[in-house]
Amino acid sequence: MLTRETIVNIVLAALLLAVPLAANASGQPFYVTIATRVAILALAATGLNLALGLGGLVSFGHAAFFGIGGYAAGILASHSFSGEPLLFGLSGTKQMPLIWVVAMLVAGLVGLLIGTISLRTSGVYFIMITLAFAQMVYYFAISWPAYGGEDGLSILVRNQFAGVNTMKPVSFFLICYVLLMLALGLFVLVRGSRFGSALQAARQNEVRVATVGIAPYRIRLTAFAISAAMTGLAGALYADLNRFVSPSMLSWHMSGELIVLIILGGTGRLFGPLAGAALFVIFEYLLGGLTERWQFFLGLILLATVLFARGGLLGLLAGKARHG
Amino acid sequence: MLLDVSKIEASYGASQALFGVDLAVAEGEAVALMGRNGMGKTTTIRAICNLNPPRAGSVRLAGTDLKGKPSHRVAKLGIGLVPEGRRCFPNLTVHENLVAAARPGAWTLDRVNVLFPRLAERHAQMARSLSGGEQQMLAIGRALMTNPRLLILDEATEGLAPVIRQAIWAAIRKLKAEGLSILVVDKTLSELLPVADRCVILENGRSVWQGPPAALTADLQDRYLGV
């Protein structure tokens, strides 16, 4: 039996596929780029949603993982371009799948590191510590000269994926779309798994989880690292979309925006990040076209969402969230 | 009637806890609110103070309907609460606990200190370092400093040593003698009944019996209150 939410989700997924394909067919490749941006931001936010939505871990530092993923892509590509060896004689690469693996590994490892310290705390402490760690990575990226510092790092030609011309906007979009759908699938699996049970229970009642003999810390740390890796993957794709990485991917505004996506879409919902990303990009595009003050109105909309429409877009479309 | 509670219903979280409580306190009267654990005594008191506003029924204090009034307005209208668990402010000194929310009137710091000399001795001590009995005195003193017309004591002597309990009951008798209206909850009937003018018994969120202490037979005690 299909619930209303499932129907809304299917419609959203279909729309995200149909709109850019139609735009491409009618010679409007720019809308394909916009849709790609939606897909990538949704992927990043889905990563965050794993920690935030399922685990209740309000990370205000996920830009760090997004940026690290981006830099992984940028650095590998630039070494491949220049031919200089990277580390321990390893060379760079322009192969997307390899770049993705590296991006996820590095982001996941950094997530593990940051999580190890920050998960010892909770509540506001956790919010602020993740924020501060992200700032640390941000300042490092700005002042470390090797990879462009504040100027960022260009990837002159988009990286490659076997058998696909990635420079064609619609091909690259499809790659991102497939990855997003895979990530959403993974999210569903994890949510229904033993691990997901423990993670969600730890959000609802930490003491209860500990009392049945599951250490919440390890569950959360694992979730945080997976979440970081997924957001890192999105970062690598974002780098390829823009053919450019810069420290602004690591800024705390980016962390804030990722949370905004989830809330706009609907906290804890599978398709919340996608709905939120679509809404956000459309706002940015429409409002940005109307007025240079678009951030002012974005602020108002966001405030209204938090105060009066807590379910976000999916809450409006599909009713209250149901829990298993 | 000073306090007139009529058919109130209230919920605690998702589940309903009160299903119709009637209770009244006349000027200068001491009323004992009784019942086993979990029968709704504390919820009734919270409902009166609008800490848990009742869903139905009415609470009137000296004729004023308390409906919709935030708890601080209720307090200002003349209810002084000594809550279950005392809830003194642990990070404030005894002196500060007494004056923080004080309102002008007959009760002053000096009079409270006369009533409870122990508090005067410990005026500079943090409330968290007081013993249970001293905390109870502080909670009563704190409520008196707001110069209430009606003093509500939830579990007036619970968990206190016998000696201290005698001191608390003595103070309550004194307050009653001065004409203060009192609504009191306590488990120790032998100490409570001599103080009360009237008793109200709750069972499963309803008021099931009212009457003078003399009418509270052993049979009734066994049925509603017995251990």
Partner: protein, 249 residues
């Protein structure tokens, strides 16, 4: 005499100037129900927190199932078989009753790092959990969210969870609180059968239940055990009468 399952020796805990636990020594022997009573604020909660590991004692030892657990975390103590219910129900409110129990079963099976297999299609979890719900009489409420259960049902659910953990001892914190007389009566009967499974340390205000169930009673006042003994010994003890039971005991 059988070796105690749980043994607290000379436990001390201070909060600043306040001594919440004052050289407490009690034990729990196989097959018995040992009730812990005392006025509010006497330090029962602090004591339970120390047994479960949420509060660390200042000195003294806690031995459970033959080993010193005083330095272990909450989850580790649970894994050793310390089953606990809470004074105020502590459940995962959004999860169904069934899924709350399933969490305990999966913990008991020792694998919470499965990422792919859906729990709702895992017969090894569901069957055992349903069996536990049946034992406490909640099988018809299995699909309701814990938040939607009544107060008494949540208590029953907590016990089902403790059962699912194959506990070697139960630590029940005021299980009767907030139950109607009917509920108390049936729960009393249930606890009486539960003692076959594992001994129970029972913290309870409901004297009917305590006197009906307990093999031994300890009375805690101001952080100190003032008496330990059988029901009759405690009823007669003048210190206990003065401090706690009062004249009408």
């Amino acid at each position: 005499m059988a070796e105690p399952v749980l043994e607290l020796s000379d436990l001390v805990k201070n909060f600043g100037a306040l001594r919440a636990t004052d050289h407490v020594s009690i034990d729990l022997k196989p097959g018995e129900i040992h009730a812990l009573i005392g006025p509010n604020g006497a330090g029962k909660s602090t004591l339970i927190h120390q047994i479960c590991g949420t509060v660390r004692q200042d000195s003294g030892t806690i031995r459970f199932a033959g080993q010193d657990i005083g330095h272990l975390g909450v989850a580790e103590r649970s894994r050793l078989g310390l089953g606990r219910t809470f004074q105020v129900s502590s459940l995962a409110p959004e999860f169904s009753a069934l899924r709350n129990v399933m969490l305990a079963v999966q913990a008991q099976q020792g694998t919470s790092f499965g990422f792919f297999k859906p729990v709702m299609r895992d017969a090894s979890l569901i069957d055992r959990s349903m069996a536990m719900l049946k034992r406490v009489g909640l099988q018809d409420r299995a699909r309701l969210a814990a938040a939607e259960l009544s107060h008494g049902e949540r208590r029953q659910l907590e016990i089902a969870i403790a059962l699912a953990l194959n506990s070697k001892a139960f630590l029940l914190d005021e299980p009767m609180a907030g139950m109607g007389p009917e509920g108390s009566k049936s729960l009393t009967g249930f606890l009486d059968t539960l003692r076959q499974e594992a001994p129970i340390l029972l913290v309870e205000h409901d004297m009917d239940a305590v006197f009906a169930l307990a093999d031994r009673i300890s009375v805690l006042v101001y952080g100190r055990i003032i008496a330990t003994g059988t029901v009759e010994e405690i009823r007669r003890d003048p210190a206990v009468r003065a401090a706690y039971l009062g004249d009408h005991a």
